[in-house]
Amino acid sequence: MSSSIPSSASYEPTGQGLPVRTGPLLEIENLSTHYVSSRGTRVVRAVDQVSLRINAGETLGIVGESGSGKSTLALTILRVLPPAARIVSGKMLFEGEDLLQKSDVEMQHVRGKRIAMILQDPMASLNPLFTIGDQVAEPIRVHEGTPRATAWRRARELLKAVRIPAPETRLTQYPHEMSGGMRQRIVGAIGISCEPRLLIADEPTTSLDLTIQAQYLNLLRELQRAHGLALIFITHNLGIVAKMCDQLAVMYAGRVVEAGPVSRIFNAPAHPYTEALLNSIPRVSDSTQRLTAIEGQPPDLAALPPGCAFAPRCVKVFDRCRVEAPPEFTPGGRRTARCWLASNSTPSDVLVQSGAA
């Protein structure tokens, strides 16, 4: 692999024309991760029967509120769960190999090398006692056995790729000498250092200012195009999804309640939760309208209601929702929705209903 990072201009956008194998890059089937209390009395179904797929070069947004299981899902993909968590069932096929069948040692060769992750707080993911150069070069040295000097040269190229001015000086500096935006870009550089196929970004811009966020999101998109990266964006911010993602999965109480192409979901949400979420966001363009709030609170994952978890807050609830949890329906157009309303109506019917309400 070459150490230089090509400019984005010479690359086709999102996935086309890239040397990819056919089929999804990552395919998750019926995955469940539960947290079990030490006596086994309390079970929190943080991730429950989740099925997702992402193709090479694609961007998947996973949206949910705190406690919806989106971060646990990311930790499950990398298999870096806390001790209380159990992967109860499912398959995770990454480039055709089941990650759940791999030994811990084999997983070490996946993490950082083939799947990398960017976390929310760059100060917490950088070690304050090591120089930037050591930290950017570390995964290259570990995964590729590259000698220090060569790895540092690569690190310099990487800092340049993430638009750090004067990379030579920055390499010998420590994290506290950088601003928040710069630290987050360094974490991004570490993420792409071994040219992974999949990059998982967990709320990567929450700690950044607006203009810095815009810079960073553009940078991620350029890196994605240049490297044919698949990106998973974990966020609570639908604006980031609208700006960055091709595919969307909406999580509620540990389950994916709706998934599909972003523009289809934004234009005609099939699940009432997605619809309510989209309507509850204030918009810069129209400020007079009263927001449609979602009443009530997200449920306690250890004591979920029977039936659909969203039923107590749903404006379209009917008797069946309260007793029987809906399975995953496929209302057409590469979409899935866990809602009884999606079982017999096409998504456009749902939209008409909501328009009248």
Binding site: E65, S66, S179, G181, M182, D209, L210, T211, I212, Q213, A214, Q215, N218, H236, N237, L238, G239, I240, V241, A242, K243, C245, V262, S263, F266, N267, A276, L277, S280, I281, P282, R283, V284, S285, S287, R290, L291, T292, A293, I294, E295, Q297, P298, R313
Partner: protein, 337 residues
């Protein structure tokens, strides 16, 4: 009459540098800003970290004393207030902060939390205090039994309601809302924003609304001021300003706001660089090193706020003397529709 008027409000902090205390710098956190808050209206304050929003909030709350300029509350200068006047001011101006997990004492019951400002400021019997608390809980949409519970028994949205009830306890005129919804879950934010708007209409409150989320500020505010490194760069009617920002910084800020729909395509202005340190702000216009329209004089001469199409803008692009010439083209940028 305006509820609150700030004129040339300034707060400089002394920064200590060097072990012997010499070579002291001055952080110009807030540097000569003026704004007016009308009754029943919301003033939105927008800007990135380090722009002075929080210092402005502290000055309005009386938590910091200005190093220059004046704040007039209901026509009276705060500097000249006696103890009684000061007390009245403190009762009339309240605050709701970002994190309802940090702003509520975990060892106090909700009743005691909400009653505390009442008990310290008024002489009330226990029964009177109780009925006032129940009324306040009702105002913010919490059931009466909430009074006997502790903060940990509530979700984030409910805690923020408790914090709002406490702010309302002394029937204030003005509430400073510093990022009141950013710590809350997305599905809860709309509940709180709606509640704040209802309370404003019902109780005739004025708000200072500070937030990162531009859409939330646009939604809540009547007037918006945009700050950059301690200065106001643009201010005006919320709708005018959000629909057609004039200052290059406001333009960039609003273009950086995330779209609400994937089909929404707009011109993106990506600023280079980061906000400079307020310890050593750039000369002339403080935005000029990052400004896509910067001209030679921007680095030399500080632009003053001046009227441009019904709002105030501090930018040399709109200097009247040069307005006749197509400035934007001269600056190497095609005209923006």
């Amino acid at each position: 009459m305006a509820v609150l008027e700030a004129a040339a409000l300034t707060k400089h902090f002394q920064a200590r540098r060097g072990i012997f205390g010499g070579d002291r710098g001055v952080v110009r956190a807030v540097d000569g800003i003026s704004f007016t808050i009308e009754p029943r209206r919301t003033l939105g304050v927008v800007g990135e970290s380090g722009c002075g929003k929080t210092t402005t909030a502290k000055l309005v709350l009386g938590l910091e004393d200005p190093t220059g300029g004046t704040i007039r509350f209901e026509g009276r200068d705060l500097q000249g207030l006696d103890t009684a006047g000061r007390r009245h001011y403190r009762k009339s101006v309240q605050a709701v902060f970002q994190d309802p997990y940090a702003s509520l004492n975990p060892r106090m019951r909700v009743h005691a939390i909400i009653a505390e400002p009442l008990v310290t400021n008024e002489t009330l019997s226990a029964a009177e205090a109780r009925s006032r608390v129940l009324h306040l809980l009702d105002l913010v949409g919490l059931p009466p039994r909430a009074a006997d519970l502790f903060p940990h028994e509530f979700s984030g949205g409910q805690r923020q309601r408790i914090a709002i009830a406490r702010a309302l306890a002394l029937s204030p005129k003005l509430i400073v809302l510093d990022e009141p919804v950013s710590a809350l879950d997305v599905s809860i934010r709309a509940q709180i924003l709606n509640l704040l708007r209802d309370l404003q209409a019902e109780l005739g409150l004025s708000y200072v609304f500070i937030a990162h989320d531009l859409a939330a500020v646009a939604h809540m505010s009547h007037t918006i001021v945009v700050m950059y490194l301690g200065k106001i760069v643009e201010s005006g009617d919320a709708r005018t300003l959000t629909r057609s920002p004039k200052h290059p910084y406001t333009e960039a800020l609003f273009s950086a706001a995330l779209p609400s729909h994937p089909d929404e395509r707009r011109e993106e202005i990506i600023l280079s660089g980061e906000v400079p340190s307020p310890l050593n702000p750039p000369s002339g216009c403080r935005f000029h090193p990052r400004c896509p329209h910067a001209m030679a004089r921007c680095g030399e001469e500080e632009p003053m706020l001046a009227d441009v199409e019904g709002r105030l803008v501090a930018c040399h692009l709109y200097d009247t003397a040069e307005r006749r010439a197509p400035i934007r083209i001269a600056a190497g940028v095609s005209p923006v529709s």
